[in-house]
């Protein structure tokens, strides 16, 4: 009988957290929140966390589409942020310029952004895949596209800040907490849509096909999946979600040409944290990142939000580049 190797408590803890990265991350997060509660009180923390949920919904909606495209097409789409911008401006066009109600404007924005995403797939990404373009070529092309979309938006609507016709002053009170009506609507829409996405990916045939294609495109094709159709539908899905995220961001903040790009790096952080190609991971990581970034304002000034997101990204890269939900593998 072989002697069992002796592990020190430290090694045992490290081994445990390596096997259960999501639990370990949750434990670290819980400790951080507890420390904040001890320092700032339950009320402040809960109040800030509410706004964190609103920001997190926006990140999660952006991240799900980005991670699916990333996983399925191996395309690091730096133009994803500008799809959000485009969505926000489409809502502005329908809501303010034409005068439709916000809910209708939201639908218009979803459809228009999904159509734009499909248009780029047909005119750029599919031909480039046909040519066998490499990762760098596609990355750089998506950046060129990002600047092109933003310039067209800025050319048409100018650089000034715009606002959608939403109520930004009324608040709702419950349990002694106060939240803006718009933020509450954002949280509700975000959670309903995100749950629907989760169910769709888990249960529907299309969702299973998407995940299969994301795992291994060639294998999925061999298994009889119409990958072309799945890819187009993935773009519809990614575009619509990006449009939705853009409108929600535009409703809670303001509409400006840089709206999407300023969210993009945090969305990328959520994608990496959740494990590239993992829609559930992106969804959870988006919400967590929103919470962490918003809670950080209790400690640091709000103008450092983006830097906090970056620090989380760097920590994730050092500790677990395959994402907190990803399987252990070399990257």
């Amino acid at each position: 009988m072989a002697a069992r190797p002796e592990y020190s408590p430290r090694e045992r803890l490290l081994g445990w957290s390596r096997d259960r990265p999501a639990l370990a991350a949750g434990a670290v997060l819980a400790l951080g929140v507890l420390a904040l509660v001890a320092a700032k009180g339950v009320h402040d923390v809960a109040q800030t966390a509410l706004y964190g949920l609103s920001l997190g919904s926006i990140y999660a909606l952006g991240a799900v589409g980005l991670t699916l495209v990333y996983g399925i097409l191996k395309l690091v789409n730096f133009a994803h942020g500008d799809l959000l911008t485009f969505g926000a401006y489409m809502a502005y066009l329908a809501n303010i310029s034409i005068g439709l109600p916000v809910a209708v404007a939201l639908l218009c924005a979803l459809i228009a952004t999904a159509a734009l995403a499909v248009l780029f797939e047909l005119t750029m990404w599919r031909p480039m895949r046909g040519k066998g373009a490499g990762l760098f070529q596609l990355m750089l092309m998506s950046i060129g596209l990002a600047f092109l979309i933003r310039s067209v938006v800025q050319f048409i609507w100018g650089g000034q800040v715009k606002e959608l016709d939403v109520d930004t002053t009324s608040t709702v009170q419950f349990l002694g907490l106060r939240i803006g009506e718009t933020e509450l609507v954002v949280i509700i829409i975000g959670f309903v849509v995100l749950s629907a996405i989760g169910l769709m990916l888990r249960l529907s045939t299309l969702g299973k096909q998407m995940r299969a294609v994301s795992d291994d495109l060639d294998l999925a094709e061999t298994a009889g999946i119409d990958t072309r159709r799945v890819i187009i539908l993935t773009w519809v899905f990614a575009g619509a979600l990006a449009g939705l995220a853009g409108v929600l961001a535009g409703a809670t903040q303001t509409v400006e040409p840089n709206l999407g790009f300023e969210l993009l790096l945090a969305i990328f952080a959520a994608v990496i944290l959740g494990g590239i190609g993992d829609a559930f991971g992106a969804l959870a990581a988006g919400i967590v990142l929103g919470l962490v970034i918003e809670l950080s304002t209790l400690v640091f000034d709000a103008q450092w939000k983006l830097v906090v997101g970056f620090v989380v990204l760097i920590l994730a890269l050092i500790i677990r580049p395959q994402g907190i939900f990803g399987k252990a593998k070399a990257i």
Binding site: L135, L140, I143, Q154, F155, L265, I314
Partner: protein
């Protein structure tokens, strides 16, 4: 009357070409580092504007706020940019190419946002400007003296009235030529061959006992150092150091230069930069009924289009060698 009337007189104006020349030279410098990274090492550094910002701000803050000598601040700013490059590279260069691209882009944004937020040190979004009148210290005081020296030297040679930017033009292009030759030579050394080996096949390089991470970090640090030099010249040119001068898009101005010129071709960068900046500066002289926002949008759209079209139809650029190009698997 034509709304699109072009002022052709602008193109015969020496001042226009001197302006184009200074910008073009600065962006050749910025793209030189990218050539070493992308063309020879195969790492996609998307944060070159951030390294340029670290260089410019270190130079500016040390001379204006801390009272350092200009000549000491210059090498220190290079060291700062290199250290920042290593700091960013250490966690991200071990990983796949795309992680590195995202991290460098994010790092550059962190530099820019920090510069905007640290108002006590960097004067926030207004930045360090030399345009105020009166008697005060600015980062370019010593540079002005050098520039005046060069100008009077040119006058003593019989050039009666050189443009005020001519000295800067000469110094920038002097750096371009020297650094191009230096980079060309070091990429032909055994060290340069290891870089290419890392680009072609990391595992093979590792099997031969070369640690790819070390070589990638060196490549990145050198690119950051050259970006710092480009940062000085940008600051001297517009007499200010402000966050908006280091937006991520300026990294991709340099990428447009890089792929116009061609991957793995150092001299191509000069042609690429000359073409891009003639195109960009010429937009100022096309009389379109548009405002300043739209004009800026037009310039960004040109850069975006140049990048998309080149990547689609000629990814190796004008003078690039296809066999030297590794664009993913």
């Amino acid at each position: 009357m034509l709304p699109f009337a072009l002022e052709f007189s602008a193109f015969t104006d020496a001042g226009f070409w001197v302006g184009v020349g200074v910008f073009a030279g600065t962006y050749v410098l910025l793209a030189l580092g990218l050539q070493l990274n992308v063309g020879f090492t195969g790492i996609s550094n998307f944060g070159q504007a951030g390294f340029m910002a670290v260089g410019a701000y270190t130079m500016g803050v040390l001379t204006v706020e801390s009272g350092f000598s200009f000549w000491l601040a210059l090498p220190l700013s290079i060291i700062a940019a290199m250290l920042f490059g290593i700091l960013v590279g250490l966690p991200s260069l071990r990983l796949r190419e795309d992680y590195f691209a995202i991290t460098t882009l994010a790092a550059a944004e962190v530099v820019r946002i920090s510069a905007r937020n640290l108002k006590d040190v960097t004067n926030g979004s207004e930045g360090l400007s030399c345009s105020q009148t009166g008697d005060f210290v600015c980062f370019d005081d010593t540079w002005r003296d050098v520039s005046d020296g060069i100008e009077s030297f040119l006058q003593s040679l019989g050039w009666s009235d050189p443009e005020s930017l001519i000295p800067l033009l000469l110094v920038v292009w002097g750096f371009v030529i020297v650094l191009t030759i230096v980079l060309k030579r070091i990429t032909d050394t055994p060290w340069g061959r290891v870089l290419r080996a890392v680009r072609e096949d990391e595992d093979a390089a590792r099997a031969l006992g070369k640690n790819p991470l070390v070589y990638k970090l060196q490549s990145l640090a050198i690119a950051a150092a050259i970006a710092a030099v480009a940062g000085w010249f940008l600051a001297f040119n517009i007499a200010s150091i402000a966050p908006t001068e280091f937006l991520p898009i300026f990294t991709f101005f340099a990428y447009a230069v890089l792929i116009l010129g061609g991957l793995a071709s150092y001299w191509g960068l000069i042609v690429g930069s000359a073409i891009l900046w003639t195109l960009l500066e010429a937009t100022r002289f096309i009389e379109l009924p548009i405002d300043a926002d739209q004009e800026a949008a037009l310039r960004y759209a040109i850069v975006g289009l140049v990048i998309i079209l080149l990547m689609a139809f000629r990814p190796q650029g004008m003078f690039g060698k296809r066999e030297e190009m590794v664009l993913g698997e």
